[in-house]
């Protein structure tokens, strides 16, 4: 008897508190919202540095362009997965979606490492210049991650850590793609390692902090 009475009284009390709610927009729409900021930053960088240098580099070293496209695909797919995981009932298997983009990004960057061996004349980044790349990716990832967390404030991610990892991956990949606009060097091993460290730091920090930030609905 008491078994059925308890939920009944709770249901009535929740019914009394019911107010109309605004539905969460679909994941693709929120992904576009985030990409608008990424596009605005890209426009700002293009306005400052111009597209000429970037296009010349891409024509001379197509693997850099492919790596940039891979990073962009990773960013878009990881952002979409983060929003999708914010809806209860959506499969966690979607977390594999950014993998093809990630493989393209890492693979093309790895090929770039061989470039300075094949083409000894290429301009290769020094350790100091690689440090600048690290700072660029990390500092740009902070506002991009913050915006994703803010866009997920009304969501209910039942796997908050996995969602936070996707946020970190999306932000770091978008930052790396934006870096291609003003990147002045061929991708050498030091540069690739620096990029990997930057992406790793962004993903790890998001996983550590985001897991807590994304759980208000479950508390």
């Amino acid at each position: 008897m008491s078994e059925s009475r308890l939920p009944e009284s709770l249901i009535q009390s929740l019914g009394v508190q019911l107010t109309p709610v605004r539905r969460l927009p679909p994941p693709w729409l929120r992904t576009i919202g985030w990409l608008v900021l990424v596009a605005a930053i890209a426009a700002g960088l293009l306005w400052h540095y111009g597209a000429e240098h970037m296009i010349r580099r891409w024509v001379a070293e197509p693997d850099i362009a492919v790596a940039g496209i891979g990073a962009l695909i990773t960013a878009v797919s990881a952002a979409w997965v983060a929003f999708t995981l914010g809806v209860p009932g959506r499969s966690a298997q979607w977390a594999w979606l950014p993998l093809p983009g990630l493989l393209l990004w890492v693979g093309a960057s790895g090929l770039g490492c061989l470039r300075h061996v094949v083409m000894p004349g290429s301009t290769v980044a020094t350790a100091h210049q690689s440090g600048d790349c690290l700072m660029f990716i990390i500092s740009l990832s902070i506002p991009l991650s913050a915006l994703l967390v803010w866009l997920l404030r009304r969501a209910c991610p039942l796997r908050p850590v996995l969602t936070a990892v996707m946020i970190g991956l999306a932000s770091a990949a978008a930052s790396a793609a934006l870096l291609e606009i003003c990147h002045g060097f061929a991708v050498a091993v030091t540069d690739l390692i620096t990029h990997a460290i930057a992406v790793g730091i962004v993903v790890l920090v998001n996983a550590l902090m985001g897991g807590r930030l994304l759980q208000p609905a479950l508390k």
Partner: protein, 219 residues
């Protein structure tokens, strides 16, 4: 979309198949609809509840209880803990009802929330069980319960405690009575008093602090 597909399939089949097979298919479709209908009904109720329809909301919550119990059982939750899972899930559904997308499965959405709440309940019991090991040791060291002097002392302590509770401010007294003396869960106490579970937690914390100061002189 599924309705359109079913209609198209029926039309094609009607023109091709003999009458007895058509009858067989008609039965299968009816059976399929019967299986599918409760879920679609719940989806429609939840969509109406998002718009503020209280009756639809109470219906969908009442209809959800058996689904929540099934999800809890699948996670290996014992029967005595199932009510807690039901209550916590209903409260979570209330908080995140805006995340439900009426074009998707309601049952999948609900079951994901219930599974998460079941895991939370199991973890919470695990932590409590770990702490209660120390209580067993305390029980061994407890003085003889039949000792008359000890019984009088216990009665006096209980009376002092009741007097102290009576002097607490109304909100704190209510929290102690609901959560401590009547041993209600946060969800039940929230439903009975109409207060937010967060407010009950804060009031209980303040009450415990006041009682501790009164009896032990420590904050």
């Amino acid at each position: 979309m599924s309705a359109a597909l079913t209609a198209t399939r029926s039309m094609v089949l009607d023109s091709v198949l003999p009458v007895w097979i058509r009858a067989d298919f008609a039965v299968s479709d009816a059976a399929e609809r019967a299986i599918d209908e409760p879920e679609r009904r719940r989806a429609a109720w939840m969509a109406a509840a998002q718009g503020g329809d209280r009756k639809a909301y109470e219906r969908v919550l009442a209809d959800s209880v058996s689904l929540i119990r099934a999800a809890a059982r699948r996670q290996g939750v014992d029967a005595d803990l199932t009510d807690d899972v039901v209550q916590e899930t209903l409260l979570t559904v209330h908080r995140v009802r805006h995340t439900y997308d009426p074009s998707r499965s309601y049952d999948a959405w609900l079951s994901a929330i219930a599974a998460r709440r079941a895991i939370d309940a199991l973890r919470s019991r695990g932590r409590r069980g770990h702490r209660e090991l120390h209580d067993e040791r305390a029980y061994d060291m407890h003085p003889d319960e039949h000792d008359a002097a000890a019984a009088t002392e216990r009665e006096q302590a209980a009376r002092r405690l009741h007097e102290a509770i009576a002097t607490l401010p109304p909100g704190q007294r209510e929290a102690v009575e609901q959560l401590g003396l009547k041993e209600r869960s946060l969800a039940e106490a929230s439903a009975h008093t109409g207060r937010q579970s967060g407010a009950l937690k804060v009031n209980l914390h303040r009450a415990m602090k006041a009682l501790r100061t009164r009896f032990h002189g420590e904050p």
